[in-house]
Symmetry: D2
Subunit: 224 residues, 4 copies
């Protein structure tokens, strides 16, 4: 039996980070051909080059991550602030701008932004991170509508509390701070990366053809 992504060519950015490795494996298991890119996308010209080099793709996964070091906003330097936008926000636009026209012309394609539930709900201690993640949400909402008439679907995974060495190290999972954090998650646990991948497969497949510009909370009920 063919996988749910049989025959699809999928480009994943920052492929070694964040959800990159998990999504790549999951997509392959469903029959996709996965192009894993590791280019530094903070270089302005990089996004266009990466997309051009990939050739025709059915799905672009804008997997863009920077660590969300907690700090009160008043302590956050311009350098740290800019880094968040340089890594997560500006390359998103450059990737979409590069990949979307061909999809619109073919009247087929999907873009998935791997975002954060902190783009939907207050996360004190990470206001700059929330700002950058909210920019992603706002962008996807509007460009998603622009793309929909051309049968291209752009959506965002608004995730939080997913097992991930970058955000939740084994060490941190042993602390009281972690236990306290889990009390805020209705599910009472972290998600397994494979559960997140199940949502990504749904969004990458034709099953989500009626989803337009949505930021789907994936956070164990923290954001709804």
């Amino acid at each position: 039996m063919a996988g749910r992504l049989q025959g699809k060519r999928i480009l994943i950015t920052q492929a070694d980070d964040f959800m990159g490795p998990t999504f790549a494996d999951a997509f392959r298991e469903e029959g996709a051909e996965v192009l894993e890119d590791r280019t530094d996308l903070t270089v302005p010209a990089a996004a266009a080059e990466v997309v051009a080099a990939a050739g025709e793709i059915d799905v672009l996964v804008a997997n863009l991550a920077a660590p969300s070091d907690a700090a009160y906003a008043v302590k956050v330097s311009d350098e740290r602030w800019n880094h968040l936008f340089d890594v997560m926000v500006h390359p998103m636009h450059r990737l979409v701008r590069a990949a979307l026209p061909a999809m619109m012309e073919r009247r087929s394609g999907k873009i998935i932004v791997v975002g954060s539930a902190t783009g939907l709900k207050a996360a004190p201690g990470t206001a700059p991170y929330s700002a950058a993640r909210s920019a992603q949400v706002g962008y996807v909402r509007s460009v998603g509508v622009e793309a929909a008439r051309f049968n291209v679907q752009i959506n965002l995974i608004a995730q939080h509390f997913v097992e991930n060495p970058e955000y939740f190290s084994e060490q941190f999972q042993q602390t009281d701070a972690f236990k306290k954090l889990m009390a805020e998650v209705p599910a009472g646990r972290l998600a397994r990366p494979e559960e997140d991948a199940a949502l990504a497969i749904f969004l990458a497949s034709s099953e989500s053809d009626f989803f337009v510009g949505q930021a789907i909370p994936f956070s164990g009920g923290w954001a709804q």
Copy 2:
């Protein structure tokens, strides 16, 4: 290869109406055993009886529908108003109350409320309907959190613009009013029932174990 709902017993209410027939077919194709109920749930005692008669179920689909006749709120009689709540809101609570305890005890189960995007966004001309559908959303949000700690997931499909003889007759689809309506849908079309079923399968399967109390817009971008 086993279906995504292999071995699941799924109870669907109002099985001849709204999404009932489509969901039943789709669930069966994924390997589920589907119990189709057609009992009139406006009778207060009915919900408990239906759930008891079903025996152990893995998934309850609270498929509750009343036509959404457009009318300015000031024209809507008590009779019409009460009918909307009697059909869509009150039985939802009675079904959840009947089915949830056994699921919580087994620490496994799912409840899907087939709701409406008009529960998330203004729909002038259908204020009473929006009120009833919003009640569903508010209920699912909160009871979803209550159930999550017991590993039971309760979520809602906030759908609109799905091909359905009840809401979008062939005849209506030929009118200018329909064309005008479609201009408000970013996807520019109605969803095929099968697309809606794909979301229902996702929510009925273990793929959605980290979704808690969510009202997921399924409306071609009308609500996001």
Copy 3:
């Protein structure tokens, strides 16, 4: 200097309960004539009679309250469930239906629903209450749009954590449960009733002429 509500006739329902007494005082201080009604609005015919008896009014305050006894949804009887809708939801529609036509004809008027932030955000332990309060939100959103073209504004105060003997007794405020609750409120305190009245004055005055069908969170940041 004239008050901000000089010359306005304002009808408040359930005038001895919830925000009734505070709002009445505050409106009078701003120059309004306040009609305090204490009729039992669960009687279907009552709303129309109350509105008719009031004569021409500029502002209707649908102040409808039932205690929000915490209980897991699975424990909530039909009687309790129905009471919430009978007190807070159904009379809201009957009041709007009675008062709105005259306002639309005069192309001037305001309706304020005194609602709850639990109509916007999960409140585990009070799912039935949240359902009823969400119904209010959904209704206001849609009927608010219907009324706007006639220059009538309908909005809702989505309040929570307001000092009020009904919801937060002096006794309860001494408990650990209360302290724990306050930790969930970013403001770290209950609102004084007068602060809530300031929002009500804003919504009752011409200052809110551009507010349409909005549910404005007033909850110290709990809902945003």
Copy 4:
């Protein structure tokens, strides 16, 4: 009788643009001392200098505006994209970072970000602008919670469709495109700047002490 802002010192940035002149007049009429700043805040060091030069202030109005030229996202250059963030997003953080510590120390103060309803709802044709405005919303939500415990309130006016030569020229108001746009606004008209100022006065005064990190839609019902 004293005005509602009697004795308050209010700093407004970009004072000649966007809501600057209207808000300054309105604040003065309510008794405030208004400091109108016209410094170019795209210069990284400028925000701290402006705040330092202002001395003790009770209210900071982060009035940051760049024109929202409509264009499909795929057509928007890096230069245009960066300009939106350089003008509206990055200076917001620098202003808050400069002004908030003194307010937190005094346990009193307010910050109002003059933002946009496009930060809350899809606005196809202005995705980059929506992204920048959403970043503002996300930032205010989270930093608002951080500030609340120190009795400092940070909120955002999510406005749209306010009479303003920058966004709605007299010329544009004569076009069919404008009429079509107004059909999307439930209020059916633009807001008068004074109506917007009424909300700003509310947020600048002690009347909003229980508002925390909120983005309040002011858009005639377009966003709710």
